[in-house]
Each structure stands twice: as structure tokens, then as C-alpha cells.
């Protein structure tokens, strides 16, 4: 099973169409391996994006240098995934017992 250690999910809030354009540009950079959970659409809606550990610094610097506001929704995706897996296993054990 692929792991997501160190992957973060950021919530990005844009203020105008110009900032949205910057995010759409980010989408085109394949080497960053970004996974947009909520795509850039309008400034009224947030953009959620999963960022692999190796791209985190570059993306955060990009956002900050363009004055784009963001917050961290999920600090480490693998922690949530591990919890989900544990819940499933526990539930299966309960069913058996």
C-alpha cells in the first residue's frame, strides 16, 4: 500500500482571479505531484491540495511569495490513514468476536 508520510493537505484561499491563475499554473507543474482535492474555481471557494513531502517547501514558498493565504488542513496524511486502517481492523475483530 502506497504511503503518504509527510504529505500535507493545504487549504488555500485566494483573493482574486490573479491568485487563481497562479494556482492553475501550479496545477500544470507535474513534477510537484500535487493532488487537488478541491480545484481552483472562484475566489469565493477554497482550494484543497495534497502536497507530497518533497514538494512542500517549494509550494509554500510559491504561495507566500505571491501573497496567497493558506492553512494546513492535514498535518501528516499518513497519520489519518493509519487511524483509518486501525478502525477497520478493530471493527473486523469486533465482528469476529
Amino acid at each position: 500500500l502506497e504511503t503518504f508520510v509527510g504529505h500535507q493537505v493545504l487549504r488555500i484561499k485566494t483573493r482574486n482571479e490573479e491568485q487563481l491563475k497562479k494556482l492553475r499554473f501550479l496545477e500544470t507543474l507535474d513534477h510537484l505531484e500535487l493532488d487537488f482535492w478541491l480545484n481552483p474555481s472562484t475566489p469565493a471557494l477554497p482550494v484543497d491540495v495534497r502536497i507530497p513531502a518533497h514538494s512542500l517547501q517549494a509550494v509554500k514558498i510559491f504561495l507566500e511569495s505571491h501573497g496567497i493565504e493558506y492553512s494546513i488542513l492535514i498535518e501528516d496524511l499518513q497519520v489519518i490513514l493509519d487511524r483509518e486502517k486501525q478502525d477497520i481492523v478493530a471493527s473486523q475483530q469486533m465482528e469476529r468476536s
Partner: protein, 306 residues
């Protein structure tokens, strides 16, 4: 009665086993139909809820076309049990099934769902091979014959919103299209996605409102009120284009243009705290409130045939 735990996430095999259990336990109203098979040859199973009197008008409901949206497949299973077990006990469900059939496809993208369990929890697309590319899969909700290839879909096979080589190229999509066409009397097309807490109607491939905009908006708001009545969960209602963004090749745009007036897409919980990784403890509350919204639409469909 099976011991299936509706409050946890299950493998595809476990879900398929429970479909058999439901068809066996509630054999008077539930039957399992195979409408096709996936790219990797897994069966596409639909539960038919019917009191069995002729070819009635029907409602279509699917979940899990995007495989990583696990709360949708899980909610669909809870809803299946709810419909089956409440028939004859709940006057509303009894009345619904005395007038309409319901077809429920709980795992619309079984290859993708299996892949999320075995290999990559974040997988969204189908698992079909793309000629000339090393990247796998097509976004099955950009693959319908409605503004195919237009804005909001990608022509890059490596993109998560790749629309595929042509409309209906994905057998998972084609199987549903063929089923709907062959049935001939589907009155409503409902599809479950996550996340964002939205209730949307056409269009996504263009930003002009549908002919039935006012009626669909009224129904959508009534459904959102029903959803909110249980746990206070708020939904935004509107067309796909006005609510999120232009997205072409989507299922409810195809169904609406095909003539199924009551076409709605739900984006279930949450609004981003967990996103696709909604904790299992929220499955049943999500399913409960979603069912209230679905029931409001289904009752409207029952009372307003066209």
C-alpha cells in the same frame, strides 16, 4: 440477518457479500442485478428495490464513481439496508416502493475502489489503460456524453480529471448508460460524491441554467432542509457551474439532457476537515442525513411524474 457493520469501511468483497445477504434477507422486494463488468472484469451490481408489479417508473442512485470517496459507497450500503428494512414499516418508504422502483449501484467504480484498498487510498479514476501513455485511468465523471472534452476536463491521461479518449469509453460509464436507456422509464438520476456538502443540478458543462432551473432549485433546497433537520449539516444548493466550477462530461448533465428531469449530484460530508478520509464514526450520521435528502427528492418524484 448478516453481521455487516454499516458503521465501518469495507472491502469490495465484503460489500458484494452484503448485497447477496440483502437480496436473500429481503427477497420480497430486493434483487441483485449485474449490469455489466468493469475494465478489470469485476461485476457491476445493482440492487433493485421493487414490489414487483410491472415495469414501473424508477429512480436511479449510484455511489463511488470516484473511488476514494469512501463515505459514498458506505452510505449507499446503509441506505440499501434502510430501504429494505423499512418497507412495510415506514409509510413513506412503503408508499415510494408501491409507486416506484429504485435501482442502487453502490460501487460504480469497483476497480478503483479495490485499488484504494490494496494500493493507493487516494485513487480517483478507473483503472483502464491509456493507449500511448504510461498513466492509468480515466475520470469516470468526465466521460459521459455531455459536453464531452469541454472545460473542466483534462486531455492529459496523467491528470486526475482526464476525460478519456471518447465519451463512454469507460465500460463502467457505458454500462450505466445502456441500463438507463434499456429501462426507458427512469424518472430521477441521483449520484453520490464527496466532499463539500453540496446539492447540485445541471449544468456543469455550460453555465446557462437548465430549463427546469426553478423547479430543481426548489427541490434541492427542500432536500437540503431535510438534511439539515437531523444534525444541522448545511448544504449549498445550485447548478454545478454556479456552485463549484465548469466541469464537462458529468453524469447528471448526460442524464438531464437525455430527458431525466430530476437529476441531482450530492457532495456529502465534510467541508474539508478530513476530506476523503472521513472518520468511520461519521458514516452512519452522514448516511442518515443523506437519506432524508434523498427521500425528499424521491417523494417529489413520486408525486410529480412527467
Amino acid at each position: 440477518s448478516s453481521t455487516f457493520n454499516y458503521g465501518t469501511y469495507h472491502s469490495l468483497a465484503s460489500i458484494y457479500q452484503e448485497l447477496d445477504n440483502l437480496a436473500s434477507e429481503y427477497g420480497n422486494i430486493v434483487s441483485k442485478i449485474q449490469i455489466g463488468e468493469s475494465y478489470e472484469k469485476r461485476p457491476l451490481y445493482v440492487l433493485k428495490f421493487s414490489t414487483g408489479r410491472g415495469n414501473r417508473p424508477a429512480i436511479w442512485l449510484d455511489a463511488g464513481i470516484h473511488s476514494r470517496e469512501w463515505v459514498t459507497q458506505a452510505s449507499a450500503m446503509w441506505i440499501a439496508k434502510k430501504i429494505a428494512s423499512d418497507y412495510g414499516n415506514d409509510p413513506s418508504i412503503t408508499s415510494l416502493l408501491n409507486n416506484l422502483d429504485i435501482f442502487l449501484l453502490p460501487v460504480a467504480n469497483p476497480d478503483g475502489y479495490e485499488f484504494t484498498h490494496t494500493t493507493n487510498r487516494m485513487w480517483r479514476k478507473t483503472r483502464s489503460k491509456n493507449s500511448g501513455s504510461l498513466c492509468i485511468g480515466v475520470d469516470p465523471n468526465r466521460n459521459w456524453d455531455a459536453g464531452f472534452g469541454g472545460p473542466g476536463a483534462s486531455s492529459n491521461p496523467c491528470s486526475d480529471s482526464y476525460h478519456g479518449p471518447r465519451a463512454n469509453s469507460e465500460v463502467e460509464v457505458k454500462s450505466v448508460v445502456d441500463f438507463i436507456k434499456n429501462h426507458g422509464n427512469i424518472q430521477a438520476f441521483l449520484t453520490l460524491h464527496s466532499y463539500s456538502q453540496l446539492l447540485m443540478y445541471p449544468y456543469g458543462y455550460k453555465c446557462t441554467p437548465p430549463a427546469d432551473n426553478a423547479e430543481l432549485n426548489t427541490i434541492g433546497k427542500a432536500a437540503a432542509n431535510s438534511i439539515r433537520s437531523l444534525y444541522g449539516t448545511t448544504y449549498t444548493v445550485g447548478s454545478i457551474c454556479s456552485t463549484i466550477y465548469q466541469a464537462s462530461g458529468g453524469s447528471i448533465d448526460w442524464s438531464y439532457d437525455y430527458g431525466i428531469k430530476y437529476s441531482f449530484a450530492f457532495e456529502l460530508r465534510d467541508t474539508g476537515r478530513y476530506g476523503f478520509l472521513l472518520p468511520a464514526a461519521q458514516i452512519i450520521p452522514t448516511a442518515e442525513e443523506t437519506w432524508l435528502g434523498l427521500k425528499t427528492i424521491m417523494e417529489y418524484v413520486r408525486d410529480n411524474p412527467y
